[in-house]
Amino acid sequence: MKAKNKKHVICGERCKSCGLCVEACPKNTLAIGQTLNGQGYNIVEQIRPEDCVLCGLCRIVCPDVAIGVVESD
Amino acid sequence: MRTNCTFSGSGGQGSALLAKLICQGAMKQGLQVVMTQTYGIEQRGGDSTGYVVVSDSRIGNPLVENDADVSVALSPTIYEGCLDGSAVGGLVLANSSLITETREREGVKQVLIPASDIAVELGSVKCANIVMLGAVLEATKVLEFATVEEVLRDLMGAKKPALLEMNLKALEKGRALYLSAAE
């Protein structure tokens, strides 16, 4: 079986910097960053991408469909 | 040609059915009809009146407004109303089995028909309304007898032959009574 290629993505335009993903991340890899998006919110960013285990909890708790782990072949 | 009819009685005397039979017959003869009934507590007893307008052309005023050409009074409680609601030149057919006190009204012809007594003789007091129907038909010629007989057959023919027989007799008897009483 071919292993799935997983990738952590953030859609900065949708983020409202509510911080729920930051709290949900079991490895503390996320933080509210300094970059502002078009709506005027600070976009969440991966501060320790190397620690990310691609568990996808950030996607589940995000109320704005702005973050997640995408699979591709 | 328009005929205004009023059929009144106490609840259960079949005045509404009488009105409906006239309407059914009229429709068979291609006439137009409107039937109105009084509102109120009549469904639970008390007096009930069916008003029928029969016409060979489009019916404008659908109401009978104290201008009945023919009125049937089955019970004493509505007798006065029938007399007052009659047109000048109109006819009141009173059930003399129950209506024992009558009075005259200028310009209104009254014919007494002992409908309830006759109905009992024929087998059921319930067919008093049909006795009256026979009298109405004879008096007004508003419908053909044959048409009304057909309506009765449609209504009770197949299922209740004995009932039909009695009602046809009642119809005929009503006609005869009117002829003899009106003389």
Partner: protein, 384 residues
């Protein structure tokens, strides 16, 4: 008398194939014209079903209940159903839901029920949803009384609900006219995508009379609703019925669109009957039962050499202004007769626009809740 019919059960679980079979059965049995002797409320039911209404939502209220009793018997044979809801609020909204699928539904009610439905009628007017409605008018205000009246003229023609809207209002005066106008009502509902409201006084509704019904014809299915119905995104991009979350400009656009539609209806859909207005001294203006009585009034008074004419509005909205534009010089005054304290009177006065005196005779409630022919005649005699 209602022709006895076999009742075919129909439930939501019935699949499409069975549904179409039901329709075939119904059409085979009842594809004939016939004269029926029905209460006019039943005539309304029979007429709308024969014209293609398949879903009737209602809540019992005298004197409109006869309609739902009748449709509960006949609709299943046409593959439809009568749905008794828990309130008139629910009735109107289920009707709106039905209309969203592009299907023509109907309801029937009386004054208090009509008041409860107003919010949704406003909604359906704004959402351009077609439906057929009957207000069997009785005496108000409040719970009022079950005797017939014409007390809901304002509510019907001005819109009892909020916002700048109108619905087409038809006022047939007899059972036969209900039958004759029903195909028109279906066409109006679909052509203009609007609720069509029948207002018939309770006396007329509870009256039983003969009416000739033509062969049933499903007018409703002749209209293509695929350009607007909310049937799912299978064959169109996302559609939504927007009533609340629009922008200010969308709101203005909607209202301008409705205004243009209403102007078109006013221009093209005025309906009335007139009798011997051409040389009349006095013109009687009455709708519904009084209009019907007016036929007799005109012929009786004409027989006495009195020049009386009649204008009987059949569409109450749009009000038949055109009938008043070309009144002959001979007309000295008008008399409006209603089963209320003067509602259509306002429209007649607007139509006449001060050119003539407009008098009024009205009555509402009581054992005889309408003006008799004798009373109308007496009043006109004072105007001649």
């Amino acid at each position: 008398m209602v022709v006895r019919r076999n009742v075919i059960r129909y439930s939501l679980a019935v699949d499409e194939k069975k549904r179409s079979n039901l329709k075939t059965i119904a059409s085979e049995s009842y594809m004939k014209s016939e004269t029926l002797f029905l209460k006019n409320a039943q005539t309304f039911a029979e007429a709308m079903v024969r014209c293609g209404v398949r879903y009737h939502f209602a809540y019992p209220i005298t004197p409109a209940t006869e309609v739902m009793k009748h449709t509960s018997v006949i609709l299943p044979q046409y593959g439809g159903r009568m749905v008794q809801m828990e309130s008139e609020l629910a009735v109107a909204n289920a009707l709106a839901g039905c209309a969203c699928t592009g299907t023509l539904g109907a309801t029937s009610t009386s004054g208090p029920g009509m008041s409860l439905m107003q919010e949704t009628i406003s909604y359906m007017a704004g959402g351009e949803l077609p439906c057929i409605m009957l207000d069997a008018m009785r005496v108000g205000p409040g719970d009022g009384d079950i005797v017939g009246a014409q007390s809901n003229y304002f509510q019907a023609t001005r819109g009892g609900g909020h916002g700048d809207y109108r619905v087409i209002v038809l006022a047939p005066a007899s059972g036969q006219e209900i039958v004759d106008i029903m195909p028109e009502a279906v066409k109006l509902a679909y052509t203009y995508r609007t609720p069509v409201l029948f207002v018939i006084d309770g006396v007329t509704c509870t009256m039983t009379e003969s009416a000739n019904f033509p062969e049933p014809h499903d007018y409703a299915s002749e209209f293509d609703t695929s350009s607007w119905a909310f049937t799912g995104t299978g064959d169109h991009p996302k559609r939504y019925l927007l009533t609340g979350s629009y922008t200010h400009s969308q709101g203005e656009e909607l209202n301008n669109h409705l205004l243009a539609k209403y102007e078109r209806i006013k221009e093209e859909e005025q309906r009335w009957e007139e009798i011997q207005v051409d040389d009349a001294d006095v013109v009687l203006v009455a709708f519904g039962i009084h209009g019907r009585m007016g036929q007799d009034l005109v012929s009786n008074m004409r027989a006495d050499g009195k020049k009386v004419g009649l204008i009987r509005p059949i569409s109450l909205w749009p009000f038949p202004d055109k009938a008043f534009e070309k009144l002959p010089e001979s007309v000295k005054s008008m008399l409006v007769v209603e089963m209320n304290h003067g509602q259509m009177l306002d429209d007649v006065r607007l139509a006449v626009n001060g050119r003539l005196p407009v008098h009024f005779l009205g009555k509402t409630g009581g054992d005889m809740p309408l003006c008799t022919l004798a009373e109308m005649t007496a009043k006109i005699n004072t105007l001649l």
